[in-house]
Symmetry: C2
Subunit: 222 residues, 2 copies
């Protein structure tokens, strides 16, 4: 069985879980706590980060970016990038936006400070960082709203890896109840559409021992 080493609250592992499901590729999940730096895991990924994908034959692909591109290369059906080269570039621009900019300016400061710092025993959350994360998220939700006023999905007419990357970040923050949905109805409507896709359902069933999600987290009509 194809195996994905992941952590439930890693937005990047979430991205790959949704991408695999959108491409209808079956896989099993293996929980990894990257901060434990297990020797066996470091052999799979020298960077020590989730996600890592191991195929049936043992072939290993490390990192969310390489895994998503690998899935397109190895299983081109149901492409999440599309075929037109400039459209693919636009999808990838938005993927980078969420993987890098959103992640750095929002997710790291909320999920990173509030959850992973505690789980990994790296000290107490930094209040100023959390405040910055709460402030920064508005700008990004406005951008999501701006895009979805003009396009069906973030990158155009079709659901793409840009939507997967965006919803993966949002879902990790929503697990903490930290997305101010009521102030951003366009982004909320958009996220409700992503949430209702079958590929997204398993993420909504995630439940971290000792840190349950808020009630609306799994609700499709939140």
């Amino acid at each position: 069985m194809r195996t994905l080493y992941h952590h439930p609250l890693s937005p990047f592992a979430r991205k790959v879980r949704v991408a695999l499901a959108e491409k209808r590729l079956e896989f099993g999940l293996e929980l990894e706590k990257p901060w434990e730096r297990r020797d066996e895991f470091l052999v799979l990924n020298h960077a020590g980060e989730v996600p890592v994908l191991v195929e049936d034959d043992g072939a290993t692909v490390a990192g969310h970016g390489p895994i998503c591109e690998y899935l397109e290369d190895a299983y081109p059906g149901g492409s999440l990038l599309g075929t037109d080269v400039l459209h693919r570039a636009e999808v990838r621009r938005l993927v980078s936006w969420f993987d890098e900019k959103f992640s750095r300016e929002v997710t790291d400061l909320l999920v990173g400070e509030k959850l992973f710092k505690r789980l990994s025993g790296q000290g107490t959350p930094h209040a100023a960082a959390i405040r910055a994360g709460h402030a920064n998220i508005h700008y990004h939700l406005d951008y999501v709203g701006w895009l979805t006023e003009r396009r069906t999905w973030l990158a155009g007419d079709d659901f793409s890896l840009a939507d997967v990357a965006c919803a993966a970040q949002l879902s990790a923050i929503d697990y903490l109840g930290d997305v101010p949905w009521d102030e951003h109805t366009d982004a909320k409507d958009y996220y409700a559409r992503v949430k209702s896709r079958p590929s997204f359902r398993p993420l909504l069933a995630d439940h971290l021992p000792g840190a349950p999600p808020p009630k609306h987290y799994a609700d499709l009509d939140f």
Copy 2:
């Protein structure tokens, strides 16, 4: 003429300059100071970051990751990823290593603190960050040495985007004279091989007003 908006000391713009040259695609350079947040530039890239590529017909691709993948899609000759899907995954794993991990753990802390902070008027360099950058670089140079003991180039037999990404980061730090080459002879020999490629020469001619590079920077026999 194809145009690349860049900053000379941006490792990511350097990566794209080398990738374009390796693919023998002609281009002109347009200097952009991203911290000025020019309105015309924000239209090209809402994230406000270099590099941005504008094709002859006005088609625009923003971001070093999307640009490098676009170049492979649009100009597949002289591929910097190769053809085998698992090899492509290994190239991309190493590209992520240097674009994300090396950049965050080393380049941001040295070039970011010492140069871009001053250029953009964002305050004084943070001494502890610079110390961390100097400490972290050894681990990465060891990894480069370890890889090149086992492979001709970082990802295998052929020069690839992994080498471009690695050398782009190293070259930006070397411009400040902050790579401890004498303690890492394997990495030094490797970098000398990259430096001697025609695609790399224009980077060695870079000269920032008021911040000249050390003498060895452009020397192929440093």
